[in-house]
Symmetry: D2
Subunit: 278 residues, 4 copies
């Protein structure tokens, strides 16, 4: 339903990936070759931890209901800031309302969250899911998306303490509620969360046929593979990306994240492990 | 927190009251002499039952997050349509989010609803109030305002069968929840609802110090009082308005609706009765 | 660069063609099979002569920078009004700015104007074209599009007196200026103008390879061709449409308007004649 | 018609002045005590030279048509960036259109420009002024304001070489054209321009009754005057501001810039000189 990208590594202008790549996030907003929808024009968001922020990091979020492809402010901001960890998201709404509070990423304290996919028949189980959210978190919900509810479930289940377990518990809650309501495959999608230092990227669906997700090969390897690629000079050795679909067509640059997997990107590099095997 | 107007009578271009009056709704958006806030610039809405609609009437709603005062589309639409019953509302938000789903009027089937005022410390009791809404209505809530919750409470308590009793029950629920949470004066405001034929306008606050509300004197009387007022020629004999504050400075044209009162405007004219006396 | 539709005939809700057709204008905004661009998501406009307007007719215009596909206000308004002559347009901008003043249709007095296509290398000749506009009309230009300049050239050259000659003169001016600046094929596109009673639709390009344009077969004939088509009951015998591409896939319902042609749609029906043959 | 602020000094989060001051720019958008209009709700803009930009500096611009007072993105961005020189502007439009291209500041290469005030009877002389703009600059005009035309006149007259002379020549051109058209007092306002290192702030009107303009006293002096003012700790010794009206009510903190004066703010401090004496 959407496309997203998460970057971590040396501080970088988001424009390098949001605007300047062959299949940049802005390009995907108008034409997404691997997306469930071709057009992701129902708003966008950029969340970033500023390069010179004092710790603990507090991310900034810029969200708009305009399509990303011609948005001038997105161009300005993604070129004017630098960040060691940022999220970008373009939305294809299942339906209205198109409003900033339905744009990703969502934020809580130092956490960012974004999602591509959907909770099947969300209207059927929304009330039950919302009731499961910690009452102290409930008033923080500002929009109407399934994604924002999923985020607040994960917060309820301890995202700050154990992100993998908390997202797992949130998805299990969605599946339980969905199955009880007769929904065969309640959960679909890819999810990214970050705390300012680490990105956790989940690929999971109840059916085992999840939205696509890719991560970049490590940059020193890419420099060896493509010694003449001038564009690589823009990136540091620790630059890494997890993204809904490859940012370019070069073989070997983007590798698929497997089904039912959580990928972890931090200063030590990329790794992944099984997530919620049936 | 807002200003609103409801009209019923001969089919009329809304622009006659929304744009062209001395203190029109659009003028109030920039400068409201009697408002709790001077500026009501956080979006607006126009709801109208089209003049040539087949019955049962289905109202149209045009809402925008732009300030009303320079909105070109509002000018166009309020001049291009004609309606025997319409609502206009300009919003002064207690806070973000500014989004169409937070603009009044709200609609359900053939019903329109709008509100000026607030539920005190809404965040404290929002969850309890939302839980009291009929689960079948719950997924229809699209925004984050106290007003939309109040509307869905009234729908839950039988708005379609007995509007006065249902709005009364909704307010009582707000007061019970508020008092239980230690809020002294939970409810404040004026509320209008309509079904396409009748307007019910409520003025009530827990403290007995409600937002202002006025209704127009009947037009034949006004023609006698002001025989040279050319502007009166624009209105039919059954034209009547209930509005947050007078649309002009002429003595006797606008009369205050008393505290703790519900006014009823229908083809037989204006009447009012006591509402929720302590 | 865009898609558009013009309707004339019995008063009709625009939603019948803007929302409800198989390939409605709203559907074309997200996916235009025959368009130069697949996505026409850079705003839209609806211009209509209200069904109950006193004469001379004054058209209303509703324009927005949101994509048409999820715009709630467009749904509301196109269902709530009725009109014997309306224009609908969805925009694919060659570039920013995306602003209401760049959305079609444009209006002057009782005239509406819209355009699909472009003036090649407009930046090169914009100043010369603007200088050719009547100085009394010059301050009325509010946006930055080539289309709005073309409209004001046509007004300068007598649109109100002889629409076909005036649009012809405007295009000739564009071609002269373009050729002088070394542009091989300065003009591209389809143009519609209306005065409230008649629609003139032009298909022309300097290269002789114009954007597509179609008109509907007459309704009595269609009733004979498709006696079981329930949808035809929604239309009167004088309903006719000219549109960038067919609104459905039924053979014989939409017929191509030839190259270098102006089509005229009025209460006597459809006719066309050669326009600006080389 | 507007309110603006320009800052230069140690790199600072714009939020310190845009959000956090007693009479911050955002506060002025809703309620400007000294403004020609109380409400400046017709959009806003933030222009800043990023703190870590390589030279020559290229400013970023974030503009929106929303009122500043509840805009979430403005809060986010003004807190997330740091800049040694930034402009902030809130607009009160003389009339529509409300569009991003009419929001200040305007930019050309490394230059920023903003304006409070107006060219009297602009419609009368707009065409003549636009014709005086260098044809190579003409296509860069994207909006409809007098301010943007004034900026492009100043660019035409050599802003990059001699800003004071160029702004003077632009204003003289406005006055000549206005007087020729029978306008008694063609120019009104305050103007700020910057090149990334220096701010030039002009206060001038043909009538000699210009909009208000103030500059801050130097910070070391303020520390002596107000030794217990904790807020001063947020500012470096070279922090200086020029602003439409004082940001707080403390005596001696903001000093008026005289009539017919240009103020120059650069790393050596504040100075001013006579500008266009009659």
């Amino acid at each position: 339903m959407c496309r997203w990208l998460a970057y971590t590594g040396e501080a970088l202008q988001p424009s390098a990936l949001v605007l300047d790549a062959q299949h940049s996030v802005v390009a995907m907003s108008l034409n997404s070759p691997l997306g469930a929808e071709t057009v992701n024009g129902d708003g966008f968001g950029l969340g970033w931890y500023p390069a010179d922020a004092s710790s603990p990091a507090h991310p900034a979020v810029f969200r708009s209901i305009e399509p990303a492809w011609h948005d001038q402010n997105l161009r300005e901001i993604s070129e004017a800031v630098r960040s060691p960890l940022f999220f970008a998201h373009v939305r294809a709404a299942a339906g209205p309302p198109i409003q900033q509070t339905n744009c990703h990423p969502f934020r809580y304290d130092n956490w960012l969250f974004m999602h591509n996919g959907s909770i099947a028949q969300f209207g059927l189980i929304k009330r039950e899911l919302v009731l499961a959210i910690d009452p102290s978190l409930y008033p923080l919900i500002k929009g109407t998306t399934d994604s924002e509810v999923l985020f607040h479930l994960a917060l309820t289940y301890g995202l700050a303490d154990d992100p993998i377990a908390a997202v797992g518990a949130a998805i299990r809650k969605v599946e339980e509620a969905g199955h009880a309501a007769g929904v065969q495959f309640p959960m679909q999608g890819t999810v990214a969360v970050a705390d300012g230092a680490t990105v956790w990227a989940f690929r999971y669906s109840s059916q085992g046929r999840s939205r696509t997700l890719f991560h970049s090969a490590d940059v020193p390897t890419l420099r060896t593979m493509y010694p003449e690629a001038e564009r690589l000079a823009a990136f540091g050795d620790h630059a890494q990306v997890v993204v809904s679909e490859p940012l370019n067509d070069l073989p070997g640059v983007f590798l698929e994240v497997p089904e039912s997997t959580v990928a972890v990107l931090d200063p030590t590099g990329y790794r992944h492990e099984a997530f919620l095997p049936a």
